[in-house]
Symmetry: D2
Subunit: 341 residues, 4 copies
Amino acid sequence: MIAVGVIGHGYWGPNLVRNFVEVPDVRVAWVADPRQDRLSAVAARYPSTKVTRNYRDVIDDPAVDAVVVATPVRTHFELGMAALQAGKHVLIEKPLAATSEEASRLLDEAERRRLVLMVDHTFVFTPAVQKMRELTERGELGEIQYYDSVRINLGLFQQDVNVLWDLSVHDLSIMDFVLERRPVAVSATGLAHVAGSPENIAYLTMFFDGTLIGHVHVNWLAPVKIRRTLLGGSRRMLVFDDLEASEKIKVYDRGISVVQSTDDLNLMRIGYRTGDMWAPQLPIHEALRAVADHFIASIRTSGVPVTDGRAGLRIVRLLEAATESMAKRGRPVQIGAAARV
Amino acid sequence: MIAVGVIGHGYWGPNLVRNFVEVPDVRVAWVADPRQDRLSAVAARYPSTKVTRNYRDVIDDPAVDAVVVATPVRTHFELGMAALQAGKHVLIEKPLAATSEEASRLLDEAERRRLVLMVDHTFVFTPAVQKMRELTERGELGEIQYYDSVRINLGLFQQDVNVLWDLSVHDLSIMDFVLERRPVAVSATGLAHVAGSPENIAYLTMFFDGTLIGHVHVNWLAPVKIRRTLLGGSRRMLVFDDLEASEKIKVYDRGISVVQSTDDLNLMRIGYRTGDMWAPQLPIHEALRAVADHFIASIRTSGVPVTDGRAGLRIVRLLEAATESMAKRGRPVQIGAAARV
Amino acid sequence: MIAVGVIGHGYWGPNLVRNFVEVPDVRVAWVADPRQDRLSAVAARYPSTKVTRNYRDVIDDPAVDAVVVATPVRTHFELGMAALQAGKHVLIEKPLAATSEEASRLLDEAERRRLVLMVDHTFVFTPAVQKMRELTERGELGEIQYYDSVRINLGLFQQDVNVLWDLSVHDLSIMDFVLERRPVAVSATGLAHVAGSPENIAYLTMFFDGTLIGHVHVNWLAPVKIRRTLLGGSRRMLVFDDLEASEKIKVYDRGISVVQSTDDLNLMRIGYRTGDMWAPQLPIHEALRAVADHFIASIRTSGVPVTDGRAGLRIVRLLEAATESMAKRGRPVQIGAAARV
Amino acid sequence: MIAVGVIGHGYWGPNLVRNFVEVPDVRVAWVADPRQDRLSAVAARYPSTKVTRNYRDVIDDPAVDAVVVATPVRTHFELGMAALQAGKHVLIEKPLAATSEEASRLLDEAERRRLVLMVDHTFVFTPAVQKMRELTERGELGEIQYYDSVRINLGLFQQDVNVLWDLSVHDLSIMDFVLERRPVAVSATGLAHVAGSPENIAYLTMFFDGTLIGHVHVNWLAPVKIRRTLLGGSRRMLVFDDLEASEKIKVYDRGISVVQSTDDLNLMRIGYRTGDMWAPQLPIHEALRAVADHFIASIRTSGVPVTDGRAGLRIVRLLEAATESMAKRGRPVQIGAAARV
């Protein structure tokens, strides 16, 4: 039986608790949150779970094996580090930390202590993204040429982080998992429409070696909700629309072929190929449950999670670079080779 | 009776001829094109129109009042200038010229000779864009906060200009007309997937004074066709989907309001407003016919076309700046104040 | 404090319990169900609610004021009658009973004892249907000309009732509420694709006095899920698409006008009117909560519920007539004037 | 060289002329129409085609090999019969004639004279319907269980025939071609919303031997345009949406399986199967061109057209039966065995 303590029971915490409760041979020993009303709700629903307003109660409890941190980003480092130092395995909400410096130190601490450090990049565990990875790995799409994502809606404006840190982190983690390639530079642009608040609309381009480009549009101020990702490959192209009830993934047998002109050797002719479309049936399960299962399995087998601290650090470095570029109206920011590993 | 000569009868020329033929008191006197098969088609369909493989026949004919140039971009300057110097009014396909230098010289020549110089920014004449302008001007949308457009499909790759010059020119001309504000800087990113060809995927951000931002995604290598523009305003937000059969324009009574917190004067709270959606009925007419009518009317009244040489020049300058920025992976390029007028 | 007992905790029962629990000054005193595992779930979640496998425990408890029946249709009569005879107010799942004879007797018993008898026609309490009623009542749509609904998906096949009794009951209750007119005859067709099972695909036409017609297509064996209703009026037409996340209701300012020809007095010319489309913002609340509130309010005020026993009886009579017609391949079945009141 | 004469140049005639002109070794010798303005348009566009207001000029011209009749339904018989009696092959717009009596006589005349008689059931020649037939024939869908079609929009009201004769004829001809089975009875309902005009909304059910049912909803008074057909099979189900730009046909690997319960031999359990969706790429060609090619090829090879007089007669008989049933509010009308051949 693995005992889990959850720190933070705001927007995402209740989902984490609900899922961990259902993992076999796992118990949610503690929930910590500064607000009493939230703790009362937990107590009513999960009578065997202890609640506290002081997160140290969770970390100091020797019966606790693992700690889940679901608090605002600026507190991830302090809480995560305290938990690691107390010898606990740690799962932290995305993004892993507020700076790459903090993320690095968490990573080092976990490695030194041989503890599991996992970041909750939930999308990586969705059936749709798993299918994207499978198709990409098997070569069904050919060489990947671009990743283009639009992730926009009205709300929820955040006070402490810009929209890139809130929304683009989903795409960065999907790309990190599906493409298995690391950007060498980023260029970002954006704007804050509320004075004194962080940017609420942003555009992020990622450059890679070779002919791969990534782009993400994130926006808290859009009249319509869109969650649509294009993955362009040399053999096939894929559209992932997360708002589709079924058929979230559509694979198009479309593309171009470059033909040397027979008349003029210097001239290339582009041929267009338009074939069938195919929407694979996806398994139906809650991604967060898979996150919980994977975290627990990593603890049990001393394995490295798919979304480990290194993945978390890579994403934080990209977010830092993007924020820096955005402040300079798109001036590209290089990602050092070290930062890519 | 105004006599029009059309130079270039490839993809767009036939549409121009078909529309000018129907303008009252206008006759299409000449069609010039290097390919004989195209000329034969014209001769069969319009027996009273003369055809020639030599464009000088059109320009040298004293009976011709106006010349329409529908040839590849690199030839716009030479043909347009020759026509102006022969004293003809000129309508040129978008973009106006291959460089801002060329565009400027066309503009100067037309002004010096008091001839009409118009660029065929067709989208400006669509009922949907006219409605966008009307709603914006009347203040129905409040202060405009962003323009975001996705204009992607599979094909047609062009050999001599990148995808910005082909597709984003539509959005640049729509913004120029609807917003009546000029960008102060641009940042663009993009990639060519075919070696030796221009960029086929590109992202362009436009910065303005104040809290307005513009962005365009153009792509010749997309599995699906998308033509969707968001226009975010402080009062209402609008979606223009050009692929909708009806309801191309949807106006959403949605947005945010910023409320000073009563508890903490330093804290702002964002309120979200979600109201009705409204799709105004649009008149049904072919935009290109309106282009033809407007060109002829400008000649008759010695008026300045809405899409005059200055508008054409502004767009070419943006395309140049965007291409320069794209070569530098998004490094922002300033647009001089002179270039904005 | 009103004490409610819920009999039946299968598919719909848990939703009823969850909603009644939240109504102020109401407590769910009992839940009865033959399956122990369901009762255990209730006990865990609602410690203060008593559970039993014997529904008589609920009905015989003098502390119980009202009984909610959420069991298979064939048992509605027996349970509802027992509850009424024990002096309880009763809310019964749709359809009210398995035959109009049973429904009539429930109705009589409730009236004799001055008890509230309500049927859970949930759709009547959705914001979308409330809006349809409001627009119809205010004359915004003009004279209603037709109601056309498609309600299809894959599953869930039922063993004891045909697809009309399962799915079309939603439309019959919406029509009953929105149109406030009663069909004078019905014609239905349908088929069973599984030998020995009831019809899984059915088409039902309802005839009214004057120029109003209703039609419903219900189907358990469709590859796609569709929930779309057209409400045609002489002034405007409405589309209700229940699968739309927002904009469930769209009102089209479209229609025809009949013009006497000036040339030929015997000839009519039809003019077509195409105007704006408008999607009113709908309030967001759970319909079932409104059902619970309305049932409790009816008890407190001795009021007649909107979906009272008479409404339940009218719908059951239509279902009986439709089933009879369907067995005769569409032969129309009259609805007696008495049955319409 | 086959000489074709076209009688009727209103809505559909110009499309027929345009397509026949392009068939190799075919010339359009004549166009007849009572309106002079239409004939002038033909003369301008096709200088080598003779025009006349008197259809007898076409029929009496010994140089004419084949006559195409594109006039109002009530004139099909007279014109078609005259052409056949003059020894011409005949192609007639759908529906073949105004009554089955007329259709029979046309059929007999053509057979007696060994002339080609074809009806222009255009939809049969669309790539989408050809694909439906191919998939059905190959058994990809299993046993067909139902055909369900919605074909609605605003306009165009017709004065002489009801909406079934105008719109459902498309579905009847598709079913005739794809299913290769003949209905044994029909039941139809409908209503006229304009006094003195034929029915503008109608619902038609077709009964077959075994577990196949067909249904069509046609409507001239709908706020939205819908062209969607479901074809349910025991192995797979298909959706044909003619308004989709691409992906008109989607094949769903979905359905049910009936499992005998192991607990109770009298009880069946339904299992649901949900698999991939697949949208085959369809060739792009104009269906009417295929109609023209097929008519000419039938003449050249003395072949029997796919949509021959018998097919035309079958559809007219169904329309007559449906109209009879509609007048009786759905009372089923049997289709005699003779009428089905």
